[in-house]
Amino acid sequence: MEGTLLFNALREAIDEEMAKDPHVCVIGEDVGQYGGSYKVTKDLYEKYGELRVLDTPIAENSFTGMAVGAAMTGLRPIVEGMNMGFLLLAFNQISNNMGMLRYTSGGNFKIPAVVRGPGGVGRQLGAEHSQRLEAYFHAVPGIKIVACSTPTNAKGLMKAAIRDDNPVLFFEHVLLYNLSEKLPEDDYICALDQADLVKEGKDITILTYSRMRHHCLKAVQQLQEQDIDAELIDLISLKPFDMETIARSIRKTHRVIIVEECMKTGGIGAELIALITEQCFDDLDSRPVRLSSQDIPTPYNGKLENLTIIQPHQIVEMANQIVNEGK
């Protein structure tokens, strides 16, 4: 049986939800006739028409705010950030209105909206197109943040995000769109708030998300050859964290490494390590560590770019170090 590419898995999810619920619509730059910058909405324009797959002018803050108003009045919009980085221009609408409005309105309005798009460090795209906004948006109250990492979870999470009555920031990674996998046949969804236990192990817990899941998988295989049995968890939900799964793992392994692509300062790992220290301190036999990107704008040069983000060998080295420190 043939596999499905990740961008097509997302497309299937959107297509199926649009077919099921006529209130679901797509809003963004080049999502219609052009089919989306990474073809996630290819041909949906023909199928659903120009109002349900709305090509917008390049006005991120305003069309994101428009999605808020549409969601408040009964629609279920999916906003595409042509590149998630561009949503820096929509920070106000995402933070003040998507995130806070339900609360400030005393529950008057709900905002069932998804904001999705490609992010992360790609291949030599330069600093501005290599941003990891999940960390910037992390402090905004009232939004859920998820990151998909495989075709299967991309589809299941997207469907769950569309059905959720809360605003969801949905991070995709530019380098994962062409991953292929055979998808389940049934109409499945993946819970937005549940981490994925990718591989069980007993010696050390590795927490990661998005593209770094695949770097970690490589590292876990190498560690296996060195007789280190690592447990790998894909966080999936970046807000809120699935602390139950995380704590359960740490109770078993007593060691933890966080591997992330965002920058170290104020990153996802910064918050996570703080929570682990607060909640799992007594279960730890060694210091919890973060492997994060350098605190620099991502350089264009390929070698420098590789040095900016974490590579599998660094994960292997750190895991060795931590496991041996504890002995």
Binding site: P22, H23, C25, G49, L51, R52, T56, P57, A59, N61, S62, F63, T64, G65, M66, A67, V68, G69, A70, A71, M72, T73, G74, L75, N92, Q93, N96, N97, L101, R102, Y103, T104, S105, G106, G107, N108, F109, K110, I111, P112, P141, G142, D165, N166
Partner: protein
């Protein structure tokens, strides 16, 4: 409606040297109102405007008595805009979107004075359950999309409500979907990108929205003509191929008539209108504003055009109501406002155990 005869020459306005353009424009404006209104319509407008005025006066009193906190922006002087626009629209059907200066829009939209006052007192009985405050009044029931405290951010939200109207009609096939959205905002806000971006999209997609600019000449301490290259905001519609109109914002009947024209276009699928209402606020920007920049002469010019007095004069001239009737309406309103205060004072504060309630929809 007859105009007050005060001359507009106000060349000496200020320390900052702004021109008299705002007052001159009003004086030069031919009153666009020529129709007739019924006694009932006249009384309804007078009631609504009086409620707006008296409610705000009471807010000032309560603020100085320490019953409400934070930034409180009062609407005195601009009542003709809220009552004229919202009065022409269908309550609980059309949508309304406001700013931080939102009390009176909420009242005109039908949110009970008790709920608005309770919100200002931070009570659970407030229209935003005491979580929003003066600048964040919301009521889904009354189609109030909210008060928005950041400049310009309500305009895209209003655009979204207008998009939903069109979507329901053209994508969901609901031929009865004809709700129009009114987005209220100030002159200073018209220099913000969201204003231009949304004008573009509204016209592009022919969305049923009315952009109501309440040009009160000032953005806190920034005089309008010091902040914008062309002070005639309504003309900016033309750059988008949109219908723009300027109206005497102190004349509720003129505002109402202009709104009716805009509504007709919007409901017929002919798209948006940019309606610039020339108006003035009779108080400082907020209750914390020392109001040092505006000249006495300027204030006097606009005080002479008090929209409530103008309406009363019109109603009298047409023989529609007697002054006695209006005075008794004022009395009724005063007791309604007093009742709102008493209700709000006695109401419960939100329970501490509900601190995180309303973050998530279940």
């Amino acid at each position: 409606m007859t105009k007050a005869s005060t001359p507009a020459s106000d060349q000496t306005t200020s320390k900052t040297g702004q021109a008299s353009e705002h007052a001159e424009r009003l004086t030069n404006l031919e009153s666009s109102y020529s129709g007739t209104i019924s006694r009932e319509e006249g009384l309804a407008l007078f009631r609504d405007m009086t409620l707006g005025r008296r409610f705000e006066d009471k807010c000032a009193e309560m603020y100085y008595r320490g019953k409400m906190f934070g930034f409180v922006h009062l609407y005195n002087g601009q009542e003709a805009v809220s009552s004229g626009v919202i009065g022409a629209m269908k309550l609980k059907h059309d949508w309304f979107c406001s700013t931080y200066r939102d009390h009176v829009h909420a009242l005109s939209a039908g949110v009970p004075a008790r709920e608005v006052m309770s919100e200002l007192f931070g009570k659970e009985t407030g229209c935003s359950k005491g979580r929003g405050g003066s600048m964040h009044l919301f009521s889904k029931e009354h189609h109030l999309l909210g008060g928005y405290a950041f400049i310009g951010e309500g305009i895209p939200v209003a655009l979204g409500a207008a998009f939903t109207s069109r979507y329901k009609k053209d994508a969901l096939g609901d031929i009865n979907s004809d709700a129009v959205t009114a987005a209220f905002f100030g002159d200073g806000t018209c220099n913000n990108g969201q204003f231009f971006e949304c004008l573009n999209m509204a016209q592009l997609w022919k969305l049923p929205i009315i952009f109501v600019v309440e040009n009160n000449k000032w953005a806190i301490g920034m005089a309008h003509d010091r902040a914008t290259s062309d002070p005639e905001i309504w003309r900016k519609a033309k750059a988008f191929g949109m219908k723009g109109e300027e109206v005497d914002g102190m004349d509720v009947l003129a505002v109402r008539a202009a709104t009716e024209r805009a509504l007709k276009r919007a409901r017929a699928g002919e798209g948006p209108t940019l309606l610039e209402c020339l108006t003035y606020r009779f108080r400082g920007h907020s209750l914390a504003d020392p109001d040092e920049l505006r000249s006495e002469k300027e204030k006097e010019f606009w005080a002479n055009r008090d929209p409530l007095l103008s309406l009363e004069r019109h109603l009298n001239e047409k023989g529609l109501v007697s002054s006695d009737e209006l005075r008794s309406i004022e009395k009724e309103i005063d007791s309604e406002v007093l009742d709102a205060v008493e209700f709000a004072l006695a109401a419960e504060e939100p329970s501490p155990s509900d601190l995180t309630k309303y973050i998530w929809a279940d």
